[in-house]
């Protein structure tokens, strides 16, 4: 190798090459630099300003921090001060940033399909209201869950018009509230505290995901963390399929659909007998024939005995039903009784700090009003898409008869017709607002950037309307309505929040509330006494094959379908992107003769749709579970693109229980799976440790049963193992520790990564060609079967190896190991040979087959600290090097190295994670948190036998299974 080294070769090449290519200069266009005319006080170009505000991604009402760079919000993170999410954020919240930059947004008000001025639009609305009042027709407000001042103002103005206010959530807590009312006489959905539960039993609730509130994910992760509580919770799920939450279970019981309530009551009966329970529910369950009910459910008696044994001895939580449960209310009643017998009411199942559902209506109430649609003169729609989320016989049927629809919405929806009046309400980043989604937690929403379009928040539109109608004028008794909502908001907070505090001065209180994102009261949790005297009917078991709809973890009830991030982050269980699919059991798949990529036709009494399928090992043969969220009409370019709306299969608002026929149809044109194989094929990629072994080991990997032996450090030290010298890390060796046992596969890390790193969304066609660009792959392996499914999640990003296989093969040194331990990737140096991706054992690299562009105005939300990559360039995770650079720069100002606490949640994935499973830090410092986690007995490096010395360590998932050798065999 001595004669001519690579550099000299390139120099010869360069010098001679220049002669022939001298007319090609590197060129750049002349750009303008546009300074402010007068710079806003808070802005220094190049430095981000953070605003505390609220998340509108679902009804959980989390607090978030919006990152403003040069006037545009470019990222959303959790607000650490907020008691609900405590700094974390879910994938729905991250994706909601795209709502502000959607290319489909209304530019301004619309009347009858034409652009109008605000004056004209409000005038048209006012005359419609007057006409309705004259004709004696109803004025109805129908919208999503709103609380706080926002709700109060709507109630006041619509009330003054003589109208009715209805609020409804498609995935609300209706069945749970009804059950709590029936059992305890309290009209609240209880709060479930998971962090102290040795056993968590769920009857289908998707509490880690579509419930929104991240405190459940946090509590569940804490209960699974042996270092925190000294035990590892055991999770039993009792449902006909495995939801995104259910896949985290230790034991899966799959009862006959419709028998869950009986099963819960039978368990309660056995538990009461075992404990000698004599409480107020004793008489309710006295007459229950447990054996018969368990037999009817088709569940093994031994399993229930085992469960009862666990419930009798330790703290537990019994979670309620989910959307895929038939007879939801009956099941919820049974779970509450089971909680009562287990002694959980008042301990882990409490009332008080619960979802504030004041003013939320039941679907029956909504349907009763919509059923009389011919008598509705004006329907105000507050972001709710009734054409999509309700059965056509109720939603669409009503829309056809209503006099005038007035929609408060930023984007088109299927409910907004040509004759509708559209009053664009803007997004949460552009206007004032508030919520008290959980009792006592008053969260403020402040405008954090200038609106992109001509908008007024719905409350301001209502105030304008009230002015035109002569409502709310000042009288001798009342001061009247203020001119704008910001003033009303302050007034309401003065009366309803400030008055309850002991703060001396409102101005100071308000400033503090805006800065911290709200004001949060501690509401004391309370128990409740059973009021029920007679058990309601538990419902009949289902007959034949039944339909069960479940919410998409990111698209939710469909409201995020126009967000490309929500579409393109793979659904964690199936790995599918772009489309609608049915979960079918392997038996159903083989009976129908389905092949990968086929469609199936689902037919019910109400209609039929064609969808793709996912062969789920855990779904019952007599259940067809269909994901909601896609298949919109007229709701934006991405929402309309793929899938079919499964709500069209419903004739009434029951997500589960309809009888359904499945037949084979043609090929699916859009769906594709992005997380590959469902099992490890006997390759030990993720590891398990037994719960009984935890605490017995003495260091890294000591209780992880490595299939391939770990590297003997003595070989390394003797220089016998490594061809390359150890890289030097003088100050930092940045490293990531991921606790697979805390991770519940929610996908927040993936979405946060898209937002932070300007990752292109490629669309269904490119995704099917394998050109998905996500830098984190949430690997999901399904190692078990039957009652112990053993599903393991493992977030996989670039492992930042010390001996990286990708580096040696790069012919242009575009990727190399740097002094901080990062596997650097210099995009403008990359020539796109793809050797690196070929040589990466973790498949962590993504190649740009095209220069993906961002439709306007998506480009405004790009992170200016991260380059957008172009065609022919390889890209990958570098632990958010732009954030590392920024924090190092901050501490260099004071001449310090970056302390541990400034690094813990630095990368976007770690800062988002609701389960707090990802920890970042400096492994060079032996006292850093990440170094300590690296010394955990459960720590292992993925594919450590390759001796790549990664900067990522995983903590093995803990299994309660009694089966020996759960590692996935050998070869």
């Amino acid at each position: 190798m001595a004669e001519l080294n690579r550099r000299d070769f390139l120099k010869v090449l360069g010098i001679s090459g220049t002669a022939s290519a001298c007319s090609i200069d590197p060129v750049t266009p002349i750009e303008n630099v546009l300074p402010y005319v007068v710079t806003p006080d808070q802005i220094i170009p190049g430095i981000a300003t953070w605003f505390a505000t609220q998340c509108n991604g679902c009804e959980a009402g989390c607090g978030v921090m919006a990152k403003n760079r040069e006037g545009r919000i470019i990222n959303i993170q959790g607000n650490p001060e907020h008691p609900t999410n405590k700094g974390s954020i879910c994938a729905k919240g991250v994706s909601d940033l795209q709502a502000s930059y959607s290319p489909d947004r209304f530019d301004g008000p619309m009347v009858g399909g034409k652009a109008a001025s605000w004056d004209d639009a409000l005038e048209a609305t006012a005359s419609a209201v007057k006409a309705a009042q004259v004709a004696g027709k109803k004025i109805v407000w129908l919208g999503r869950k709103r609380t706080g001042a926002t709700a109060a103002m709507t109630d006041e103005i619509i009330g003054a018009m003589g109208g009715t206010v209805l609020r409804w959530e498609p995935l609300g807590t209706e069945a749970l509230r009804a059950a709590a009312k029936a059992v305890f006489g309290i009209d609240e959905a209880p709060h479930y505290a998971l962090d102290q539960a040795h056993t968590v039993v769920s009857f289908g609730a998707d509490f880690l995901n579509s419930w929104g509130n991240p405190s459940h994910a946090r509590g569940f992760a804490e209960a699974r963390d042996p270092s925190l509580c000294g035990f590892v919770t055991q999770f039993w799920t009792i449902e006909g399929r495995l939801s995104n939450t259910g896949v985290n279970c230790d034991v899966h019981l799959s009862p006959v659909p419709g028998t869950e309530a009986g099963l819960a009551l039978a368990t309660a009966k056995l538990l009461a007998d075992k404990k000698g329970y004599t409480g107020r529910a004793a008489s309710l369950i006295a007459g229950i024939d447990a054996e018969a009910l368990i037999g009817a459910a088709g569940v093994r008696m031994e399993r229930i005995v085992e469960l009862v044994d666990r419930l009798a001895h330790n703290d537990s939580v019994v979670m309620p039903s989910g959307t895929t449960t038939i007879h939801e209310e009956a099941v919820n009643i049974a779970t509450l009784i089971l909680n009562e017998v287990a002694g959980n009411i008042g301990n882990s199942v409490v009332f008080g700090p619960t979802a504030n559902d004041t003013g939320i209506n039941t679907f029956a109430e909504v349907a009763a009003v919509l059923g009389d649609a011919a008598n509705i003169g004006v329907l105000f729609l507050d972001e709710l898409d009734i054409a999509y989320t309700m059965p056509a016989s109720i939603g669409r049927a009503a829309l056809g008869q209503i006099g005038q629809v007035v929609a408060f919405s930023s984007e088109p929806t299927g409910s907004i017709g040509a004759q509708s009046i559209v009053l664009p309400s803007g997004t949460g980043l552009e206007s004032w607002g508030d919520n008290e989604a959980i009792s006592g937690r008053h969260t403020l929403q402040q405008p954090s950037m200038k609106p992109l379009k001509d908008i007024r928040c719905s409350s301001d539109s209502l105030l304008g309307l009230a002015g035109l109608l002569g409502l709310g004028a000042a009288t001798d008794e009342t001061p009247g309505l203020p001119a704008d909502f910001a003033t009303y908001l302050q007034g309401w907070w003065n009366d309803n929040v400030f008055e309850k505090t002991d703060a001396p001065d409102f101005a100071k209180f308000w400033r503090n509330a805006v800065q911290t994102g709200g004001h949060f009261f501690d509401v004391t949790p309370t128990g409740a006494a059973v009021q029920m005297t007679r058990l309601p009917d538990a419902g009949a078991p289902a007959d034949g094959t039944t339909l069960a709809l479940f919410p998409h973890p990111f698209l939710y009830d469909g409201r995020h379908a126009n967000r490309t991030w929500a579409q393109e982050v793979p659904e964690p269980v199936s790995g599918l992107v772009w489309g609608t699919w049915a979960e079918l059991s392997p038996a159903t798949v083989s009976n129908l003769g389905l092949e990968e990529g086929d469609n199936v036709t689902l037919t019910t009494d109400a209609g039929s749709i064609d969808v793709g399928f996912f062969a789920s090992p855990a779904v019952r043969d007599d259940v067809v579970a269909v994901v909601m969220g896609n298949g919109h009409e007229g709701a934006g370019r991405y929402a309309d693109l793929t899938g079919a709306n499964p709500v069209n299969l419903l004739s009434e608002m029951q997500y589960a229980g309809a009888s359904v026929q499945v037949t084979r149809a043609g090929k699916n044109e859009t769906l594709s799976s992005q997380i590959g194989n469902i099992d490890q094929d006997d390759r030990p990629i993720t590891y398990l440790v037994k719960a009984k072994d935890v605490g017995t080991g003495s260091g890294p990997g000591s209780i992880v049963h490595l299939h391939h032996p770990p590297i003997d450090e003595r070989l390394t030290q003797a220089g016998l193992l490594d061809m390359y010298p150890e890289p030097e890390h003088p100050t930092y060796r940045f490293a990531l520790a991921i606790d697979n046992n805390r991770c519940n596969g929610c996908g927040a890390c993936e979405a946060a990564c898209y937002a932070e790193n300007n990752i292109a969304t490629v669309g269904p066609e490119q995704a099917r060609r394998g050109r998905h660009m996500g830098w984190i792959r949430l690997s999901r392996y399904w190692e078990g079967s039957g009652e112990e499914p053993d599903v393991r999640f493992q977030p996989t990003m670039c492992q930042q190896c010390s001996h990286a296989p990708c580096e040696g093969v790069c012919p242009v040194l575009a990727t190399y190991h740097n002094l901080d331990g990062l596997n650097a990737m210099i995009y403008n140096r990359c020539v796109g040979t793809r050797y690196c991706a070929n040589n990466c054992p973790y498949s962590a690299r993504r190649f740009n087959y095209h220069s993906y562009d961002w439709p306007e105005p998506f480009h405004m939300m790009l992170n200016p600290d991260v380059l957008t990559r172009t065609m022919g360039v390889m890209e990958k995770c570098t632990f958010c090097v732009q954030r590392i650079r920024e924090v190092k720069d901050t501490y260099r100002d004071v001449g310090q190295t970056v302390p541990d606490e400034a690094l813990l949640t630095l990368p976007a994935c770690a800062s988002a994670c609701p389960a707090e499973a990802i920890t970042f830090g400096n492994a060079k410092d032996p006292n850093s948190t990440v170094s300590k986690i690296f010394q955990d007995e459960r720590a292992y490096a993925m594919l450590s036998e390759l001796n790549t010395k990664p900067g990522v360590r995983y903590l093995a998932r803990i299994s309660h299974s009694e089966v020996e050798d759960g590692q996935g065999g050998g070869h």
Binding site: E3, F9, S16, I30, V33, V38, I47, L819, D820, D865
Partner: protein, 240 residues
């Protein structure tokens, strides 16, 4: 050794032929633009279909940047080619020589981000008006323009003289706090420049000249200067 040099030279020769052909192709293409369009080489023919399957109606959903092998040279200046760094015609003929030289106004009075942010910042129009509210606003045409911009609420469309590629991370703050003088990169604006001009290439080699061995590194870092010099040569220090 000989065989390797031969291999290198063969490669060079082949590449040169290839490039020449490519350039000739490009030039002739420009000459006969209209007629050649239909038969000209379109890279879309050899690259797999786009995300919308070459269906133009779907292109707005997942748009691709147009394929371009050699960008048009029209209206562009070269990075780092000093000779071609012409004195750009700015919307207002502002003189650094007058303000920074004669009047001795400190650089950071206008470029107030230099010590705090990655961007030194071009001053807001309001900064100009701090003085020009009272100094000769009506009798000089350039100042009349300034007042017009200010009153219109529109930003002054200055042309960038120092433009770094998007893939470069450059922090004014780090350099200014490290004791690098503005003039080391921007030239003696106070003495020479009635129109701001780029005096340095801003090419990577020029950056590295200092990053390899700037006297301030020893001064600021003392015992750990060697480590700092190593860090300053790390690609990720400056590349995004």
């Amino acid at each position: 050794m000989r065989s390797q040099i031969l291999a290198a030279l063969c490669f060079v020769a082949l590449t040169a032929v290839g490039l020449t052909l490519g350039l000739v192709g490009a030039e002739s293409h420009a000459d006969e633009s209209a007629q050649e369009e239909t038969s000209s080489f379109d890279i879309r023919d050899v690259i797999p279909a786009g995300p919308s399957g070459n269906d133009p109606s779907k292109d707005e959903l997942f748009p691709l940047q147009p394929y371009a092998l050699i960008p048009s040279l029209e209206g562009q200046v070269a990075y780092g080619d000093v000779d071609r760094a012409v004195e750009l015609e700015q919307p207002i003929a502002y003189s650094h020589k007058l303000h920074a030289g004669t009047l001795e106004i400190a650089c950071e009075y206008c470029h107030s981000g230099a010590r705090r942010s990655i961007h030194a910042g071009v001053p807001e129009t309001g900064t100009c008006m701090n003085c020009h509210k009272v100094i000769s606003t009506t009798d000089r045409p350039e100042l009349v323009k300034l007042v017009e911009y200010y009153n219109s609420g529109e930003p002054i469309p200055w042309k960038k003289v120092h433009d770094l590629p998007d893939f470069v991370y450059f922090s004014h703050k780090r350099h200014v706090r490290g004791g690098v003088k503005c003039q080391e990169c921007h030239g003696e604006v106070q003495d020479d420049m009635t129109v701001a001009t780029r005096v340095n290439t801003l090419q990577m080699g020029w950056c590295l000249d200092c990053h390899r061995d700037h006297p301030k590194v020893d001064e600021n870092y003392g015992a750990s200067a060697e480590l700092r010099r190593a860090e300053l040569k790390d690609c990720l220090t400056c590349h995004k």
